[in-house]
């Protein structure tokens, strides 16, 4: 088990190196000169050249890539933001909690709503409840986030005036953004839970449990859920990881200073160190979360556990 974890952690390194390289290439091929953006359009060519020299832009890309990677691995140095002149992680860590809160709340809400409804839908297959849930899930899953958020603002902030539409001053500020993020996720989770549950519901061991005299509730909670939930957990983990990097639109619409906002403005300003560090940060988190999900499997499914022993 520990060997497995160590191997997975080590495998993060080559993946990160590749990620960094890809982002390097992408940034290299986008237009815009960081020196000119920092100094402004009317800076003298000498000043521009001097800054380029200082930032290392006169070197070939591959050399810069190696320098950058070396800086990370030897000094844990991710560079400074061109704009704020602060180490990048100072910026990232200030803005990350907002995004983290959004992602955590959204995943919790989505799970609490989606999973039980999926179970109900499967157990009452083709009933009126099932049809109603399925239709509304399809509806929610196909609504674009920006449109849903605007509708929510229109209704709750403008029409009813009960919830704020921008800022992060109180917990109330989180309700609409979380709703925007959670509802489509809940719909997807519901669909997957329903499909899984229906599959499990047909299994012989469910009938065995019934033959023992177990009632419906016990069959669901004791026998079906654990078997049905494994793929659902993967989806929960993936949507959580995805939300960490995918709250941009919601952050922009609700004026929340989160990580997505930071990276987007850094891309616009060619603030390369922020973009790089933000990408590394998010992809590392993503991989760690997926590792956690895989480890969770072992606690649920004994068959997976024995595989970890290898």
């Amino acid at each position: 088990m520990y060997k497995y974890i160590a191997r997975r952690l080590l495998s993060i390194i080559p993946i990160l190196l590749l990620t960094i390289f890809i982002v390097f290439v992408i940034l290299e091929s986008t237009p815009g000169d960081p020196a000119m953006i920092i100094l402004g359009r009317d800076a003298s060519p000498d000043a521009l050249n001097a800054l380029r020299e200082e930032l290392g832009f006169n070197k070939p890309m591959l050399l810069r890539y190696l320098d950058y990677v070396q800086g990370i691995f030897t000094r844990f140095d991710f560079g400074e933001s061109y704009r704020s002149k602060q180490p990048v992680f100072d910026n990232i860590l200030v803005q990350f909690p907002t995004t983290l809160k959004l992602a955590i709340f959204s995943v919790i809400v989505a799970s609490i709503v989606g999973i039980p409804l999926g179970i109900v839908s499967a157990v009452r297959q083709y009933s009126l409840t099932d049809v109603a849930l399925t239709v509304s899930a399809l509806f929610l899953a196909s609504i674009p986030g920006f449109w849903l958020s605007l509708l929510l603002v229109l209704f709750f902030s403008l029409l009813l005036g009960v919830l704020p539409s921008t800022g992060i001053d109180s917990w109330k500020n989180y309700i609409l953004p979380v709703a925007t993020l959670a509802l489509p996720s809940a719909a997807i989770l519901m669909r997957i839970t329903r499909a899984q549950m229906m599959e499990v519901w047909k299994q012989d061991y469910i009938r065995t449990a019934r033959a023992k005299g177990a009632n419906e509730w016990r069959v669901i909670t004791k026998h079906a859920i654990k078997n049905a939930l494994m793929p659902v957990i993967t989806i929960v983990g993936m949507s959580f990881a995805g939300l960490l990097g995918g709250t941009v639109i919601v952050e922009l619409i609700f004026g929340m200073p989160g990580l997505g906002n930071l990276i987007i403005s850094a891309i616009k300003l060619k603030d390369i160190p922020i973009v790089m560090a933000g990408t590394i940060f998010l992809s590392t988190l993503f991989m760690l979360i997926m590792l956690l999900v895989d480890l969770l499997y072992a606690f649920i499914d004994p068959r997976t556990k024995s595989q970890f022993k290898r």
Binding site: D204, Y205, A211, K212, N215, D301, P302
Partner: protein, 329 residues
């Protein structure tokens, strides 16, 4: 024993499966009587309605497709098709247990086997056993079926097929049921293990004073274990009698039963080929008129094609065939 009080009586049971516009007649008005401590062998080809009959007794037929059209099932003189679901849950697992066909799939893969056996005891704990007593009983029942109780925290995938079947049997026996229904308990097992499992079941049956229904298509198993035999064909019981009727007095049998016996390969004679019964089981959505077996019957007469034979009973030996109608009359 008290012959007047059978443990199980099935009267005119009729079950169909519905899917879209098709209707499969799975069980067609069957009658069965099982006395206490008796073992009944329910024999027939795949699709004859054996499992459907068994699931009807436990009321575990697939809810959405299956429908019991009529008839009665009396368990200990109580009509169990009429009682509420709660009452039925109290009977399932405690008074009637079932061993399902495939031990590979009938155990929950993510629950330790000890827990799965214990569950029946926990659910039917009317005598108020303590936790310790339930655990002890779980250990006891595991030892009974020949599994070391120390393995109870292991999961089904850690057991071999034969061992899994033992777990399934232990689960069914946990509450010492009055009636055990074993649906092809040995079909999924190796022949070597089959004998072991059968012996064990016979032994446990004696010990628990159970009544048993063994569903099988293997006449060898029937010969080894059963007091009474019912042969099913296309949802009907076409022959019913005692062990002696079937295996000792080789006189009168339904042509289908004759075919079944004929299809057993014999090692002592010099035969080149197997002797299957020609043709296939009829389509349950479109059963033939008259006797359901007539298209395959070597002794088919004109009357067989049009009219359904009555049950002819000679000394408790029932045969549903026109051949024997005159014999009685």
């Amino acid at each position: 024993m008290n012959k007047e009080n059978p443990i199980l009586e099935i009267r005119n049971l009729e079950v169909i499966y519905q899917s879209r516009k098709r209707e499969s007649k799975a069980v067609n008005k069957i009658n069965l009587v099982l006395n206490r401590k008796e073992t009944l062998g329910l024999v027939g080809e795949t699709g004859a309605g054996k499992t459907t009959t068994a699931l009807s007794i436990l009321r575990l037929l697939p809810e959405r497709t299956a429908r019991i059209l009529g008839g009665q099932i009396l368990f200990d003189n109580k009509s169990i098709l009429e009682i509420g679901e709660k009452e039925m849950q109290a009977i399932r697992g405690e008074r009637i247990s079932m061993i399902f066909q495939d031990p590979m799939t009938s155990l929950n893969p993510v629950v330790p086997i000890g827990e799965q056996i214990k569950e029946a005891l926990v659910l039917h704990n009317s005598s108020g056993r303590s936790k310790k007593e339930i655990d002890d009983r779980t250990d006891e029942i595991l030892s009974l079926v020949g599994i070391n109780p120390e393995r109870k925290s292991q999961y089904p995938h850690e057991f071999s097929g034969g061992m899994k079947q033992r777990v399934v049997i232990a689960m069914a026996l946990a509450c010492s049921p009055e009636l055990l229904i074993a649906d092809e308990p040995t079909t999924a097992l190796d022949v070597t293990i089959q004998a072991q499992v059968l012996e064990m079941m016979e032994d446990l049956k004696q010990r628990f004073q159970m009544s048993m229904i063994i569903i099988t298509h293997d006449l060898g198993i029937v010969a080894k274990t059963c007091d009474k035999v019912a042969v099913m064909y296309a949802g009907e019981i076409i022959e019913f009698g005692t062990f002696e009727n079937f295996f000792c007095q080789d006189n009168r049998h339904h042509p289908y039963t004759v075919g079944l016996f004929g299809s057993i390969p014999k090692i002592d004679t010099d035969e080149e080929r197997l002797h299957p019964i020609d043709g296939l089981m009829p389509d349950p959505t479109n059963l033939p008129s008259g006797c359901k077996f007539h298209p395959r019957c070597p002794k088919c007469m004109e009357i067989c094609k049009t009219s359904l034979p009555n049950d002819t009973v000679i000394d408790g030996h029932m045969i549903k065939c026109h051949l024997f109608v005159e014999v009685v009359e």
